[in-house]
Amino acid sequence: MLKQIEGSKAVAEAIGLCRPEVICAYPISPQTHIVEALGEMVKSGELTPCEFINVESEFAAMSVAIGASAAGARAYTATASQGLLFMAEAVYNASGLGLPIVMTVANRAIGAPINIWNDHSDSLSQRDSGWMQLFAETNQEAVDLHIQAFRLAEELSMPIMVCMDGFILTHAFERVDIPSQQQVDAYLPPFEPRQVLDPAEPVSIGAMVGPEAFMEVRYLAHAKQMQALELIPQLAAEFKERFNRDSGGLVRTYCIEDAETVIIAMGSVLGTIKDTVDEMRAEGHKIGVLGIISYRPFPLEQVRRALLSCRRFLVLEKSLAVGMGGIVATDVRMAVTGAGLKGYTAIAGLGGRPILKSSLHALFRRAQAEALPPVTFLDLDWDVVNKQLARERTTRRSGPVAENILYDKGIVSAKFG
């Protein structure tokens, strides 16, 4: 049913349709509206049987999800930013134990400086945790990816993060087609765990594993993600058959057939990029887009195939490997090793900095002209950066960076007297 609905509410409705049996979460912006709505659905009896467990922290949220999943329940949680970091140890345990938990990450920057706005630093910090990570471009896709995620997670017995841009998607009202319960039931069968704590057939889950077997357990986690590379397109194809919509898959291309320059990105910024590319196409520029939906597993082969006929590519990412450059860009460059393409990285939108079409136009033109440095910071205010650098050169006690920059920008007076 078509609805004009807030992204968070739409995702909550989708989760409800997936019949989770245990939901445990600790509120953190911008994820809060999702679990609030689910809490209401459980309380009103709309979502039953389901237990909503208020926990005291994100560490507890993931720990409860682990317990619930090990006991055979379909378990769901959601978090963001510092919340994800706070649960990190349990995040690794969930995947190490092979428990098919689905978690929404309402992507948000990580402090310090404290910042509630969107970028991809949080889920990308858990890149090597063993969780799969799928990125939604729209709220429709966020809804659809959650439905696919439970299938994928339970088929492989591995956990998944469905990542959606905090505020930009979670707090946006837009048109979303919410499927019916019958449609979702036909696509997503009841959870049949591969391992379960069952008094009738007792097992332990979570054995200590020494040097004689640890590598094998780790390898199998990797092998499962390699299986996911096959399964994700299959599940997206089956989803399209049943729901009549293209959602999910590993990558999505746009206007790349004759493109000399390809822009690569993840998440909601792809919409703004496509609008920019349409305008540039109308002026005759041969430019296209490659959206990465599955960040983990990373579809090396599909990315390589999409880029092989272009001359240059630009990875625009909302994340920064400090001391190195791009995070997604590193993987993309790995995919095209030896292909002789020019590759550029643009770090954009950190901490919620708006990504403007006008800035993208200028950036993409410079990429086309091969006039970009290897790593660019989109719309960086060089004046305040240089001022702070000068301050540090000339003054030993140069003070706290964030406060200095806010002061220089005239946003708050950080100094007294």
Partner: protein, 193 residues
């Protein structure tokens, strides 16, 4: 694509106004996208929300830079921020105030623009009268419907009924109807000048 920017203060229903505009447009079978400016909102602090309306799918996620219309829920913001930044030459302005643009010292704004596209509306008073609370958002979106013709009053009423129930819905509908009427009269007079 028609783009609207709503300014107000935390507690005035700025985000809700943008959301209800998007619902009204959706009820007319159009695509709409509403989103806040993502601040950490506090009562009384300046808040901005956006709404885009289009006959095609809306993909862009950038903030509205060049609005076709600006709705201002609190006239005291005029001294604090550049409310009219980026407003298109043919753009609409609806301001919550009991006073006219001339009385507010904003007559300069009308230079080179079409006077029937600028309007003030006593939206807080309409809220108090019909809902019993000084919330100007619903009268303003109904006034916007009259001012711009972008959405119909019936669609605004559908959005009200989706958001509110019972007495509150009824009061909001009465406020919307009066606002729609008032703005309609004002722009007719302005067009005569």
């Amino acid at each position: 694509m028609f783009q609207i920017r709503v300014h107000g203060r935390g507690g005035q229903g700025v985000v809700t106004a943008a959301e209800m505009l998007s619902v009204a447009a959706f009820e007319e079978g159009r695509h709409a996208q509403a989103f806040p400016s993502f601040g950490s909102e506090r009562t009384g602090a300046p808040v901005v929300a956006f709404c885009r309306i289009s006959d095609k799918e809306i993909r862009s996620r950038e903030p509205v830079i060049e609005p076709d219309a600006v709705i201002i829920q609190d006239a005291t913001l005029l001294h604090q921020i550049d409310i009219f930044a980026g407003l298109k030459p043919e753009g609409f302005v609806l301001l919550n105030s009991q006073r006219s643009l001339q009385e507010l010292g904003l007559a300069d704004l009308l230079k080179g623009r079409r006077p029937e596209r600028f309007c003030t509306l006593p939206a807080t008073e309409l809220g108090l009268k019909h809902i019993g609370r000084p919330i100007p958002n619903v009268p303003l979106i109904a006034g916007f419907a009259a001012l711009s013709g972008t959405i119909r009053l019936e669609s605004v009423i559908l959005a009200i009924n989706e958001k509110f129930k019972g007495k509150v819905a009824k009061g909001n509908i009465a406020a919307a109807e009066e606002a729609y009427l008032l703005v309609g009269q004002m722009i007719q007079e302005a067009a005569k000048c």
